[in-house]
Amino acid sequence: MMKKKSKLVSYAKWGYIFLIPFFVTYLIFSLIPLVSTFYNSFFENYMVGLMKVGPKFIGIDNYKAVFLHSELLTYLKNTLIIWAMGFIPQIFFSLLLAAWFTDLKLRLKTGAFKTIIYMPNLIMAAAFSMLFFAMFSDSGPVNNLLTYLGLPSYRFLSEVAGTRGLIAFLNFLMWFGNTTIILMAAIMGIDGSLFEAARIDGANSWQTFKRITMPLIKPILAYVLITSLIGGIQMFDVPQILTNGEGNPNRTSMTAMMYLNKHLFSKNYGMAGAVSVILFIITCILSIFVFKFITNDPDKIKVKKKKKGGSL
């Protein structure tokens, strides 16, 4: 009995051992803060200068304050609008570039391009925003150029469209390279024989793209959409720096995270906790919804295709 056991070498334990660092890090840096955020959201607890108020248990008063007296919903709407303004062009250009770069007929040398389009992502968002802040300021180079060309100058950061547009443009610039590379990987993962078969059948580039590429990269598209959405809800550094933390004009570029940051200004752990919990729930719901919606689709498309094939 004993001999038998010693002969069996259990490799399974190594799996657990190697997983320990992850779980320890996750516990310390993610789970405990997460739980303590929930806990903190039920307390009145803030600093006024050097004076501490609380912590005092106040039940769901913080949540009431967020829903009744704050404009979190407006800020969420701002966030989503700015995110969509950046994401739509981002997915369009990424798909286009990914399709071109992977197209064997075009025979593009893509190495340099891939590096260049990824570049903006390597720059710190804060530095990038500072650059844009200077470039698009009232007497900055962009306005000088406009005046030089005989066009009227535009006060980008005093206009709703200008400010939101710049934030969206920055997000687009920073992330389209990343998305392109992910989509390229997805397209290259498709069996080449499918494209070959389509070409033999006489499909043009658009048809190939629409009927073969798109359906097969749907899961990756879902992944891109979800990660971008979650990233979008957490949009903070670009608008914070571009608008000096105020979400000008008239708080129309104030994102939900910037609002959260406003509470951290006075170390208002209670209100900040409540806002965080709400954002957490919203993120969860959105993720589940989008994930379900998109991952279900390929099957439906297959069914449709079969039906079509049948009727022909």
Partner: protein
């Protein structure tokens, strides 16, 4: 096999690198142990002004040669400086002796917050200055840092009456004179000021650069402090006057739509600027205006002399309404281990009339010694930057009039929120009521204990 060797090699290198990392870190920690107590002076501040002034203390020879001076600079915008200082002060008790804050600087806008806390200490009984030492200072500079029980907790080397710095060349064109007395006569009171704005506009000049320029002249003349006894925010009628005036100036393009401290604002003060004048305070002349007026900055080899940009084209007058702006107080932090040095520093920089006189004559800053300033005012001292004007004479007249009785610990945060909220109104983006709402929102986010 080869692959295994390579990976083994990589692992070894990584392990070595992490060990090397430890090796270099350890001695660094060792130097921080409190074996050399009282040899480090940690100073919290928000810009480099004090660092420049500190040279005078070094020159006095009272700074121990082996003393290490750390300036911890955090810019003050968005309360960043106060937040950094608060965080450090809250850790003061547990910090190692050499990591403790020894000195910190405060501005009039929030001096009360620190003066009324236990983190600042008595400059007379704890630091060791005498009542006679500080007797020569302007009374208001002592009042502002005196807490509710009458203990003085800070000292300053400067007095900061507000002023209006105007361009001599533009004044000549608009008013026919650049003489400070005559210009002051033309700008005396807001009605006169507005009339000059109209004239300047007709000749293609802007009266002011931006929205916030005249803010301080209104906010310093409020009827009551920002926050009343019930922690309610009170928007003073005088502030609404600022709103109305600035809206008019913006709509009629008497200003250039800039914000305080932004690059366009700074450019307006330079050779290409078309702005009549700027509201400033004494420190602004040498710390900001001089640098902005040069065509070739000193960092690029330019010299601060006539011929470089518009050096010499500015002059100062009291302006339409008396006010003050800023001022930097030196406070000693509770728990400091460098009291003797701090005493010497406070004495040299704020009580020693010889040092204060040389600061004024070298840098044109207005320093905190009534007698010394009167002496310079009566002398033949003149500022080349201000076209030969003896501006000290002007300040020694207005400095005793400064009234800081309406300050509150919330001034900086509320002033910033108020200015910012109304930029949207000036830009024509929102109605006045919405701007006011936005101000309250921002204010209560900053100070949850306040109410509307």
């Amino acid at each position: 096999m080869k692959k295994k060797l390579v990976s083994l090699l990589l692992v070894c290198i990584m392990a070595m690198m992490s060990l090397v990392g430890c090796g270099t870190k350890k001695p660094a920690v060792a130097t921080q142990t409190p074996e050399n107590q009282g040899k480090v002076l940690n100073i919290y501040c928000w810009n480099t002004e004090f660092q420049d002034r500190f040279e005078y203390f070094k020159k006095s020879g009272k700074l121990p040669a082996d003393m290490k001076v750390n300036f911890i600079v955090t810019p003050s915008a968005n309360n960043a400086y106060q937040n950094a200082l608060d965080a450090a002060l809250l850790k003061q008790d547990s910090a190692a002796a050499d990591d403790k804050i020894d000195l910190f600087l405060v501005e009039a806008d929030y001096a009360l917050k620190y003066v009324n806390s236990d983190y600042s200490i008595d400059v007379i009984n704890d630091v060791g200055l005498t009542k006679e030492d500080v007797a020569g200072q302007y009374q208001y500079t002592k009042d502002i840092v005196t807490n509710t029980s009458g203990v003085q907790k800070g000292v300053t080397w400067q007095a900061t009456p507000g002023l209006f710095a105007y361009r001599r060349s533009i004044a000549k064109e608009v008013l026919g004179t650049d003489d400070p007395v005559k210009v002051q006569a033309a700008l005396n009171g807001w009605t006169a000021f507005d009339a000059v704005a109209v004239k300047a506009n007709k000749l293609g000049y802007k009266m002011l650069s931006g929205y916030d320029d005249s803010y301080r002249t209104f906010s310093n003349n409020m009827a009551a402090p920002w926050v009343d006894k019930n922690n309610k925010i009170v928007v003073d009628a005088n502030l609404m006057k600022w709103v109305d005036q600035t809206k008019t100036y913006t709509d009629k393009s008497y200003n250039n739509k800039t914000s305080l401290w932004d690059t366009t604002w700074a450019k307006d003060q330079g050779p290409t600027g078309k702005v009549f004048g700027f509201f400033y305070s004494t420190w602004g002349i040498n710390f900001t205006l001089l640098g902005n007026s040069l065509a070739t900055p000193t960092t690029e080899g330019g010299k601060a002399e006539v011929g470089n940009g518009i050096f010499g084209d500015y002059a100062v007058c009291a302006g339409p309404q008396s006010y003050y702006w800023g001022g930097t107080w030196i406070c000693a932090a509770k728990g400091t281990d460098d009291l003797p040095v701090i005493k010497d520093l406070m004495y040299t920089m704020t009580c020693d009339s010889a040092t204060l006189k040389s600061i004024t004559t070298d840098t044109q800053d207005y320093t905190n010694n009534v007698a010394a300033m009167k002496e310079i005012a009566a002398s033949s001292f003149k500022s080349d930057f201000l076209g030969g004007q003896n501006h000290i004479a002007l300040f020694s007249e207005v400095a005793p009039k400064i009234d800081m009785s309406k300050i509150s610990p919330y001034d900086q945060g509320l002033n910033e929120s108020f200015q910012n909220a109304f930029h949207d109104y000036f830009n024509g983006k929102v109605e006045i009521g919405v701007a006011l709402d936005n101000f309250y929102k921002s204010a209560i986010e900053k100070y949850p204990n306040l109410s509307r």
